[in-house]
């Protein structure tokens, strides 16, 4: 029963494919891909709509106000209204802009985001694009984001756009390193680049109670935090939304965009956020595995989306809580703290492996991480570097 | 109907020639680099294609060489572009016709 419920979408796809069973191979392939794409788009566009309104409402709660509550019940139809508004708005393209590139930039951005969503397993046997080396695919394709942002900034022929794009690329480059290196310990521990294998490796329970998610090992926890923070930067979320800081450079590389192109940018940003969160869930939080053996009757995709929702809530929560960071502070953290810590995680994972993956390994890797963390804190003298800025000329 | 090795090599030859065209005919320094990258890419295509078409079993030598070639061309691109910037600072131009200090 539970397995039928669990595999309902897989069976559904198989049923749809049976309609074209007699067709040549390439027709079946294309049909299968189309079904996957449609499903992905449907789910994530809905999620995007839902999250956009939820974010506004949660932020409003945090700021002691109501938020959108006029359109539909609890303002739930707000995204529909927004979408219509965006669609019918005039699409302005600057006269000196490079028209083709200006048009392509949001498209590439959204395409990249959707492609990255494809390799994440959403449930048991529910990977849209099962490829040998999915994690590598995720990052390879994800790296095109920078190019898209640059296209947007350059094609607009506007100095704010260019500046914003430069800032975005700089911070993306800087945080891409810790992001990727934080993934390495998991890849090393599992010995595979395939997301499904990684999730399978996290399926057991220690003593039958504690799930063997990598987040419950010291190196996994540290890598998860590094990955999550880098993910925040990659998706340009607060407190790292410097590239589009309204108070400084209008809206960064999106300044010259309006109407549906602007909406596409927005969509791409949220889809990127989903993708990074989904990968975090896959790598560290056990993917679609339930947190306890007795909860296995609940379908796997529900667990995935539950974990994803928690992470998205944290995103929103952070946005409501933290102020924006300064550019130099961001760079300092990336190169002087995040990168060494990411390497430390790799070493700690190796220590954990060679110490037997048991309690001993757990303690040893904890020791390694604590030592390096303390050394880095002392070396960088964080208390002085991140002290409140004194505005000497503002008083 | 599957493409033969000859088809891949022809594509590689065309890519190489286009790269050579870019490197030889354009005046801008960056085009030379772009051309060189394309020629390297053509070579990589050859490596992979010959690996694929070799009778099995065989070691993945072609793949290995392609990987190393990609890494080396990345290094080459970084240094080459840095040189373009440095030279640009000195001559205030990117037109390679005007880089003629070494004229004999």
């Amino acid at each position: 029963m539970s397995s039928a419920l669990d595999q309902i979408f897989v069976h559904g796809k198989r049923w749809l494919l049976s309609w074209v069973a007699g067709a040549p191979d390439w027709v079946i392939q294309i049909t299968s891909s189309l079904i996957n794409i449609v499903a992905l788009l449907a789910v994530f566009l809905t999620l995007f709509a839902l999250i956009s309104v939820l974010e506004r409402k949660i932020l409003a709660r945090m700021q002691n106000r109501y938020g959108p509550n006029r359109v539909g019940p609890f303002g739930l139809f707000q995204p529909v209204a927004d979408g219509i508004k965006m669609l019918i708005k005039e699409d302005i393209v600057p006269a000196r802009a490079d028209k083709v590139v200006h048009f392509l930039a949001p498209v590439v951005l959204a395409a990249v985001a959707i492609l990255t969503l494809g390799v994440i397993p959403y449930g048991r046997n529910m990977t849209a694009f099962a490829i040998n080396g999915g994690i590598l695919f995720f990052f390879a394709v994800g790296s095109a984001t920078e190019l898209a942002v640059f296209m947007a900034g350059w094609a607009s022929n506007n100095k704010f756009s260019m500046l914003g794009a430069m800032r975005a690329i700089a911070q993306m480059f800087s945080y891409e390193l810790p992001l990727i290196i934080a993934v390495l310990p998991v890849v090393m521990a599992v010995g595979s680049l395939v997301p499904d294998t990684i999730i399978t490796a996290q399926g057991e329970y220690t003593l039958g109670v504690v799930p063997r998610w990598f987040v419950f090992t010291p190196w996994g926890a540290a890598a998860f935090i590094l990955f999550f923070v880098s993910g925040l930067v990659e998706s340009n979320r607060t407190p790292f939304d410097v590239p589009e800081g309204e108070s400084e450079i209008v809206a960064g590389h999106m300044t010259e965009y309006s109407g549906f192109k602007y909406a596409t940018f927005f969509l791409a940003e949220y889809l990127g956020m989903f993708a990074v969160s989904g990968l975090a869930v896959t790598l560290f939080l056990g993917g679609w595995h339930p947190p306890a053996r007795i909860l296995e009757f609940v379908p796997s995709y529900i667990w995935f989306f539950a974990k994803l929702s928690v992470l998205l809530f944290v995103y929103i929560w952070l946005r409501g809580t933290l102020p924006r960071m300064r550019v130099d502070q961001m760079m300092n953290v990336a190169w002087k703290f995040m990168l060494p810590m990411a390497f430390t995680c790799v070493i700690a994972a190796a220590v954990w492996h060679y110490a037997g993956r048991g309690m001993r390994g757990w303690l040893w890797s904890l020791f390694v991480i604590v030592v390096v963390y303390s050394a880095l804190s002392i070396l960088l003298d964080t208390r002085r570097k991140f002290a409140p800025r004194v505005y000497r000329f503002a008083e | 109907m599957t493409p033969t090795l000859q088809a891949f090599v022809i594509v590689s030859v065309v890519l190489f020639s286009i790269g050579l065209l870019a490197a030889l005919s354009r005046r801008h320094a960056i085009f030379i680099l772009i051309g060189i990258e394309m020629m390297l890419a053509a070579a990589n295509l050859n490596f992979i294609a010959f690996w694929r078409f070799a009778p099995p079993p065989h070691p993945p030598t072609g793949v290995m060489i392609a990987i190393f070639s990609i890494a080396i061309s990345a290094a080459e691109a970084a240094v080459g572009l840095a040189m373009v910037i440095a030279v640009y600072r000195h001559y205030r131009t990117t037109n390679v016709d005007q880089y003629d200090q070494l004229k004999g």
Partner: protein
């Protein structure tokens, strides 16, 4: 006898050598380490010497030999070795004991010298070399150490290198002894030629043993005389004695150690060592070579004693006295009294070292003054020095009974009296005894008695470190008389290997009375003649010597060392000068002209080749260069500096290769 000691004898030279090297490698400021090393090395040497000496007491006349192969040259093996017999053992003890005393004395005497450590390094070096001479069982090894001794002597005489006189004296000593050594060397070669070995004792095959001697035959006389040349040079015998008084330019401990006690005795020792060569084929104890030795010794002894009377320098008097005493020893050896000569050598080592150290103490007390006419009345100011000096003086003068020198002199006179060939040496020796007593009394009166003159005003007794060696040597001098007495001639028996019996009656001999008479006569004459020395006496001024006043011509003759130096300067050195002039002239005009002629020919040839070069080769090279430049200019036009052209050329080249490959295939 314990063979282990002989096989370890190499330590005797090695320890002081090692000490010298370590001291030299230390810094100049490490005075204390230098002293500790040098004296420590000397104590070790003394200990080894005593250990080596004791077994020889048990079996009289024993001889232990340790030979080894130095290197093999074709079929010839060159073997060296060490020997330990009573002669060597007695010398070892004497040398190491006297050396130790002098080392200790030097600590005080050289205290203010800036090259203090170097001095001790040299002293240690000398000590090692001297010990090596004594224990060598091969004429070659002996010669090597002999030359090392000469080197050490040179270094130490010229120790105060900044004084021109010291440098000249060092040079003189070195060259003069070298003349003797030349003979020594020739003798050695001759000996090797005849006997085929240079080992002294080699189980019957050595050159001093019957088998070896049998090979020599008549040439033994000439070989012995040539070797005697070396001894003459080293021991300052008559024709080559001139360097020894000049050697007094060195520091006084050096004079005491080298030029009184040990090195100059090496000549006597050498003759004693190779005595079988001298006495080969002796008829009634007389050979022609030994006769030469006797007459040289007699001449030297008398002449030096005479010169000593007229000298004013305290050290020069002692130096001539040394020469005279060495002559005495030679006479003793020559007349067959080998044991007597060596006994006198040993006794002389002690008391002459004592006298030199005493004079050193006097000089030290008088702030470097060496002229005895400026001293006087020092017996109150320097009682210890005076007492010990007096003992030494009595021993030297040959006062019998209680002083070692007396007994040994007695023995020598005894031996001389029985020389069958002639009685002249005996009477001349008796005159020498009187003269010795006379000049020593003169010196004593000048230095220690009478009024205090200029240099004695501020004199003071020397420090303990200098007086202690004096006392030790004085005790040694007196103690030796016990074993030297003719009533119990222990040392004589030890050296000759004859059994010894105590006969008090042997003390009472007519010879003893004669010599007692002569000595006391000499002393009395000295006291009478020099009682007013240093003060005005009637019309004689204070600074004029009584003898000079009485016999000015004789005094001048003696004071100028019988003009031997001048004679040498006129004859030998003059001849050398003349030949040098001649060579100079030859060089300047004859050889130089020859060379110039050749040069001119070469120059002509050079001019010719230069012309060929200029006209022929150079022009060709020039043209080639011009051509190369043109070609370079042509080729450099291809070097456009345009990167794309280079790239294009590369591409065309690739295409060409491709076509070539296709064509070949």
């Amino acid at each position: 006898m314990n063979p282990g000691i002989v096989s370890n004898l190499w330590l005797l030279p090695a320890v002081p050598f090692a000490a010298a090297i370590v001291i030299l490698s230390l810094g100049k400021s490490r005075r204390k380490s230098a002293v500790v090393l040098a004296i420590g090395g000397q104590i070790v040497v003394l200990a080894i010497s005593i250990v080596a000496f004791l077994p020889t007491l048990q079996t009289h006349g024993s001889r232990a030999v340790q030979n080894f192969t130095w290197f093999t040259f074709g079929e010839q093996t060159l073997r060296l070795g060490f020997v330990l017999d009573p002669l060597a053992a007695a010398m070892l003890v004497m040398i190491s004991l006297v050396s130790l005393c002098i080392f200790v004395f030097s600590v005080g005497y050289m205290a203010d010298d800036k090259n203090f450590t170097r001095f001790f390094a040299y002293l240690s070096f000398f000590s090692g070399a001297m010990l090596g001479v004594v224990i060598a069982n091969s004429l070659l090894l002996l010669f090597m150490f002999w030359e090392l001794v000469g080197l050490a002597s040179y270094l130490l005489i010229g120790f105060w290198i900044e004084r021109p006189s010291a440098a000249a004296a060092a040079k003189k000593a070195f060259i003069t002894t070298r003349i003797g050594d030349m003979g020594f060397f020739l003798g050695m070669l001759w000996l090797y030629n005849r006997s085929g070995t240079l080992l002294f004792y080699d189980g019957g095959r050595g050159c001093l043993e019957s088998a070896g001697l049998a090979l020599l035959g008549a040439s033994a006389t000439y070989i012995a005389l040539l070797i005697f040349c070396g001894a003459v040079g080293k021991s300052g015998q008559f024709p080559l004695h001139v360097w020894l008084p000049d050697a007094m330019e060195g520091p006084t401990p050096v004079s005491a150690l080298i030029h009184a006690a040990t090195m100059v005795a090496a000549g006597v020792f050498l003759v004693a060592r190779v005595y079988p060569l001298f006495s080969l084929g002796a008829i009634n104890g007389v050979t022609s070579s030994l006769t030469v030795v006797v007459w040289i010794g007699v001449t030297t002894a008398l002449m030096a004693a005479l010169i000593a009377i007229a000298q004013a320098d305290i050290k020069r008097i002692l130096a001539y006295s040394t020469v005279s005493q060495l002559g005495l020893m030679m006479v003793s050896l020559g007349v067959g009294g080998v044991a007597a000569g060596i006994m006198h050598l040993l006794a002389h080592g002690f008391f002459k070292a004592l006298l030199f150290l005493g004079s050193g103490s006097v000089i030290h007390g008088c702030h470097g003054e060496q002229d005895i006419r400026k001293m006087g009345g020092l017996r109150r100011l320097m009682p210890v020095t005076f007492g010990t000096y007096a003992i030494g003086m009595m021993a030297l003068s040959g006062v019998p009974l209680f002083f070692s020198g007396g007994w040994t002199k007695e023995e020598i006179l005894h031996a001389t009296a029985h020389w069958p060939r002639s009685h002249a040496p005996y009477y001349l020796m008796l005159a020498g005894v009187v003269l010795t007593a006379l000049y020593m009394t003169r010196q004593m009166l000048y230095v220690f008695f009478g009024n205090r003159r200029s240099a004695a005003e501020h004199a003071h007794e020397s420090p303990r470190v200098m007086t202690m060696p004096l006392i030790v040597l004085a005790i040694g001098t007196v103690f030796l008389s016990v074993v030297l007495t003719s009533a119990w001639p222990w040392l004589h028996g030890y050296l000759t290997g004859e059994p010894v019996h105590f006969h008090i009656a042997r003390v009472i001999q007519p010879m003893l009375f004669i010599s007692l008479l002569l000595v006391s006569g000499g002393i009395a004459l000295g006291i009478w003649f020099y009682r007013k020395a240093g003060v005005q006496d009637r019309d004689r001024p204070a600074e004029v010597d009584p003898l000079e006043y009485a016999q000015p011509a004789l005094f001048r003759f003696l004071a100028n060392k019988m003009w031997i130096d001048e004679l040498y300067a006129r004859t030998i050195i003059g001849f050398a000068w003349a030949s040098a002039r001649l060579s100079d002239w030859m060089d300047r005009y004859f050889w130089d002209g020859l060379v110039r002629g050749f040069g001119a020919i070469a120059q002509l040839f050079g001019i010719f080749t230069a012309d060929v070069d200029e006209r022929g080769i150079n022009a060709g090279v020039d043209e080639t260069t011009v051509g190369a430049r043109g070609l370079g200019r042509l080729l450099s036009s291809a070097h456009s500096g345009q990167i794309q052209i280079y790239l294009g050329v590369v591409a065309v080249g690739m295409l060409a290769l491709l076509l070539l490959y296709a064509w070949l295939a």
